[in-house]
Amino acid sequence: MIANAEALLKPLTIKGMTIRNRVMSTSHAPSFGKDGKPQERYQLYHEEKAKGGIGLSMFGGSSSVSLDSPATPWNQISVADDSVVPFFQSFSERMHKHGAKLMIQLTHMGRRTKWDTENWLPVKSASVTREPASRSVSKALEQEEIDRIVRDFASAARRCKEGGLDGCEISAAHGHLVDQFWSPNSNHRTDKYGGSLENRMRFGIEVLSAMREAVGDDYVIGMRMSGDELLKGGLTAEDLITIATEYANRGLVDFLNVMGGQARDHLAHAVSLPNMSFPVAPYLPIASAVKREVDIPIFHAQRVTDLATGARAVAEGHVDMIAMTRAHIADPHLIKKLSEGRADDIRQCIGYGYCIDRIYVGKDALCIQNAATGREATMPHVIQKAEVKKRAVVVGGGVGGLEAARVLAERGHEVTLFEKSDRLGGQVLTAAKATWREALTGIPRWLVAQVQKLGVDIRLNTAADDAAIAALSPDIVIMATGGLPHLGEVPGAEHAVSTWDVLEGRVEPAGTVLVFDDIGEHNAVSTAEHLAKKGCLVELATHDRMVGEEIGGTNQPVHLRELYKLGVVMTPNMELIEIYPEGNRKIAALRNVMTLEEEERVVDHIVVDYGTHPVDELHFKLKDRSKNNGFVDQDAVVAGRPQPFEVNGSAEKDGFTLYRVGDVLAGRNIHAAIYDSLRLCKDL
């Protein structure tokens, strides 16, 4: 039971529209839009939260109102013409059926977008400026264009109302057009829209006034805004509170959705979408400060990962609605579980940032730990019981094995889980030893609690072998034996150690260390940071164009910030070609991948990350005796269909089916291992 839970379960009424509780999800861009519309995948994703008891789900982060703010980046929603209205209608009906409210965010991105997408129109802003994050140079808006955009906002609001949405907000945060006008950083105008704060506020007032006129006084319109840009030369808390009170007092907005910071460059972006290195709810005081000054409800998001924090924020009166957006991506059934007294079953967001990092590289938003999110059409959030109870053996207690054990146990099967070591969680626990990556432990922690609760027979310190598995006469064997780090193939590779060796404390380097990264993920950079914090003089080399190249936008800047602060030398475009010892020290030969020039480093230790190679001896011992030769039917699993080995009479044959999940196939990531297990086991 969570303290103050009752504060979260109170309804909130805004202009006669009652939200059933105080927990919401803010508008965001999961990249699920199709042709600029919220179609089935998008709707199912939000419907799951509605089923899970959420009060208000806001969708369509940065939904565009105008053609010169294209919806194409992140596959977003275009509200720039009436064709979206029927989609809104089916969407809102879908949500209302479960008692949840649905709103959208409308915006014109101004300069914060790309010109080289569908419409090939120049980006617009208050003045001619360039935003580091979007890298676009804007055209200054002329009065006619301003008037047109104001009309576009009004038409978009009308479409929201016609579509049955319960309300909408405009975005005046993260450097969109409205706050581009507000900020002296981006507004150098000398007309009635520039200069004084009063003038800089004008555009937003015109937008909201036109929207009001289009939808009437009883329709809920809010605004997302920063409460403090935390930026020298940017909008201060004082500026933003002045804006908030002015807009609220004019009756232009019915709620304010207040965040902290801004997103003009890489670090600001990462800081405004706090990852696991931040404490929970770091910007709550900023929202609370606005709440003190205005009489309309305040919403707030930003790393509120647990209900207890959310409940405190509401109970203490800092905010009226607490937004747990990423928390719902990890577990869309938060409120249901809370109100059913199953708060312990909540899969808590760990702040990995996998969901958001993917969309900035053109992929869809997925959860590092919940493979069903965003795949509601094919993947269940609640596992159905199987009709026939089977006996299953899972070999390996990493996250892939744990997820397999969880899903199989939820199916009602009798599950035995073998784990060679004395702990469950596998290599995720190793990764979690690196400085601020500690929150990774949350992934196995939830899985372990679930499998324990489901009565899985967990055998720690037990390496599964042929005999032990045969003794259980299983119907299903899941190989989740994972992988082990590979030291690479360069001459002298045996003189290197792996990032695992360092993080597990098997070696304790001192002095100078060369970390060579062949993967570009968190592993090497976090190990470099770990070593530097222990006092080593670290050089991090990679053949990529920069270090941590595979790491997404909310995490990589944090890594870089830490590495710079610690004086780690970052050497991109360099490959390791040979290692040899010299006395007590080691020589690493590096070659610049652009110039092909070679250099040498004399160091005390060489740490490499070449990813993992599978641990699959046991699999190949069992393979020939399995009914399916150890293969997953790829077509079936991709289509979300049950495995044919399970349904084509194989159950009548003696023996077992054998499947591999996770890194035992090939070294990938946490999500891959968990998805392997979920999509396979949900039908077994």
């Binding site: 379960l9 309804p11 059933r20 009060g55 008692g99 109100s339």
Partner: protein
């Protein structure tokens, strides 16, 4: 003069002695306060009440009925026959003596059965002391009388043995008679009078719904003294009722507080109340002590406060009671323990504000906010936001008025209510809730605050009078009981139905179609206020059986069900014992091997869910039904999908 011819005189002597003795008690009863009693109807009803109602209770313990029927019949029969023997001429008949001997023989046989309950070792619930000697006296009277009468039927061939029989019978009979004021035989005389002059004659009327005889009676709030402080404050027939106790201990064996080691034994309490009116320092009580007995002076007197360390009974005793009525249900003497406990509490609360534990907060909240936990009653429907719950404005009408109760403020209770609301919607029931539902007042009343209860009752009746409805539906047996059985005294007469009965009707009439659930066995825990208080045992069971799960009964179920510990404000008073009542109840659940315990009361849910460790899952009947109805919907969808596939093929 034969020995046998003296037997009738012995009976007369016994009657005189007993009459004098019981007369002393009757004088004490007269000191009680006024009670409106229909003497004629009561005396007329006595044979039926004794032979049917009392026998039904006694007969639940076969060892008791097997001993009581011959002893009582033998004693009354032989004494009656002997008095008849005073009619000249009859005593000379050998046949007459044979019949008398037969009566004594029947009694003697019964005495053997009585003795078996006590020797070599008495059943734990029985009192010892004088009670342990009673079979001896009974045996002397029966054996002596048998010997004497038997010899007389043979023409008195052995006069010495006849006289020996007479002496034994006289010793036993006079000893019994001499104890008629304070000993075990008091129960016969006071018990008969109590049956005739019972404070709740309605409980013997089978035509009335059970709840009519279990509701608490209002008190006059303008009276000089509120509640009962001293024996003289009790109605005279209540004082009489205390004397009817035979200390059989069935109440004690059934009492959940006693089982949990809290300082309450209903038997001990009634004995104390009987002793209190006698005055002076009470003599030793020969039953089990109150568990974890708190020390008191044990000073009594008609005008001496009963409750308190200077009186007969420690306050913790009356505050340990859950008002579950298990004692009342078990009592063969038809004593109404709960009425007296509430009367004593009323004085403590209304005159002294001496409510233990969190009681003061609860009553303050009830007074100031109309809700025991201080919630704003306007927020009672908060939990249902998103469920589109209809609220009745003044003048509006609905078929079913849903009374939400305190569960609406509790996250666990809300789950049950949400399940119920979903089911009502599924069955397309026309229902709504009051715009402002105040607390029904059950808790305030059981904590002795009659004033707050009456105020809440009148306010609710006022609100209910402004809207139209056919009946009231509630998932809370406490609200059900209060509204159905205690509001009529204030002019609120409603048809109130419990959700288990209502849902059972919906299923039976096909308006809800539950699938048959699969899974482990369940057991059903009877809420006291639904079962014992209102006689509803069947509907919840019928509903559960419709879900297709194997249902197992706990050893204590239905009328004998054990309380969860949550009633009567007991969790508020929170009197410490050795165990918690819900832990004991959950252990009884465990013994059935059921994986789920179905409940039908928010209080039971809260108490049983508070049990820590590995235990059965606690689900309200409505939640289980919703599972089944939703499963039914899924099956229907599957069947339809299959049908479509076939069509396409």
């Amino acid at each position: 003069m034969t020995a046998a011819s003296l037997l009738p005189l012995l009976v007369l002597a016994m009657i005189v002695v007993a009459g004098v003795q019981i007369g002393r008690r009757a004088l004490l009863w007269r000191s009680g306060s006024f009670a409106d009693v229909d003497w004629v109807a009561g005396v007329k009803a006595l044979p039926k009440r004794y032979l049917v109602d009392v026998h039904h209770v006694v007969d639940r313990d076969k060892s008791a009925s097997r001993m009581h029927v011959p002893v009582a019949a033998g004693l009354v029969g032989s004494a009656g026959l002997l008095v008849l023997g005073l009619v000249p001429g009859i005593a000379g008949s050998r046949i007459y003596w044979a019949v008398v001997a037969l009566a004594f023989a029947v009694m003697a046989a019964g005495v053997v059965l009585v003795a078996r309950r006590r020797y070599p070792r008495a059943m734990p619930r029985l009192s010892l002391g004088r009670y342990q000697r009673t079979p001896v006296y009974l045996g002397l009277f029966a054996g002596g009388g048998l010997l004497c009468a038997l010899l007389a039927s043979f023409g008195d061939p052995l006069p010495f043995f006849s006289f020996l029989g007479l002496i034994l019978a006289a010793a036993g009979g006079l000893a019994l008679a001499a104890q008629a004021a304070t000993g075990p035989m008091r129960h016969a005389l006071a018990g008969a009078a109590h049956l005739a002059l019972h404070p709740r004659p309605e409980r013997f009327d089978e035509r009335l719904p059970k709840g009519r005889a279990t509701g608490l009676k209002p008190i006059d709030l303008d009276a000089a003294k509120l509640g009962r402080e001293e024996p003289a404050d009790f109605a005279w027939n209540r004082l009489l009722s205390f004397d009817a106790c035979i200390q059989c201990g069935r109440c004690e064996a059934a009492c959940p507080a006693f089982a949990a080691g809290q300082p309450l034994s209903p038997k001990h309490l009634i004995a104390d109340l009987a002793a209190a009116s006698g005055g002076g320092h009470a003599s030793a009580y020969a039953g089990n002590p109150y568990p974890n007995e708190r020390s008191v002076a044990r000073e009594g007197g008609l005008h001496h406060a009963v409750i308190g360390t200077g009186g007969m009974v420690h306050p913790d005793t009356i505050w340990s009671c859950t008002t579950c009525r298990a004692c009342v249900e078990e009592c063969p003497m038809m004593i109404e323990h709960v009425d007296s406990i509430v009367d004593l509490r009323r004085y403590q609360t209304l005159e002294h504000g001496a409510v233990p534990g969190k009681g003061a907060d609860i009553l303050d909240n009830s007074r100031l906010t109309d809700e025991p936990n201080g919630h704003d009653v306007a927020t009672r429907t908060d939990f249902a936001a998103g469920l589109d719950l209809k609220r009745l404005d003044d003048g509006a009408r609905t078929d079913v008025l849903l009374w939400m109760g305190q569960a609406a403020f509790d996250m666990r209770g809300q789950r049950t209510l949400r399940a119920l609301i979903k089911l009502l919607k599924e069955a397309k029931v026309d229902f709504a809730v009051l715009g402002e539902e105040r607390d029904c007042g059950d808790l305030a009343r059981r904590l002795g605050d009659e004033a707050t209860f009456q105020r809440l009752a009148r306010a609710n009746i006022g609100a209910l009078s402004k809207v139209g409805f056919q009946r009231i539906l509630t998932a809370d047996p406490h609200a059900l009981h209060t509204l159905r059985n205690e509001y009529p005294a204030f002019g609120g007469d409603y048809e109130v139905v419990h959700h288990t009965a209502f849902l059972n009707d919906l299923v039976a009439s096909g308006r809800l179609s539950p699938a048959r659930l699969t899974g482990a066995a369940i057991t059903y825990h009877d809420p006291c206020y639904l079962g014992r208080y209102n006689g509803e045992f069947d509907a919840p069971r019928a509903l559960l059986d419709a879900l297709g799960l194997e249902r197992r009964e706990m050893a204590r179920s239905k009328r004998k069900s054990m309380c969860c510990g949550g009633g009567g404000g007991a969790p508020i008073a929170d009197i410490p014992g050795d165990n918690r009542i819900p832990d004991l109840r959950m252990e009884q659940v465990r013994q059935t091997g059921a994986a789920t315990v179905a409940v039908a009361c928010p209080q039971c849910t809260a108490m049983l869910e508070g049990v820590t460790g590995d235990r059965a899952e606690v689900r309200d009947v409505a939640e289980l039904l919703l599972d089944a109805v939703e499963a039914g919907r899924g099956e229907k969808a599957k069947t339809e999908a299959r049908a479509r596939e076939v069509e396409t093929a």
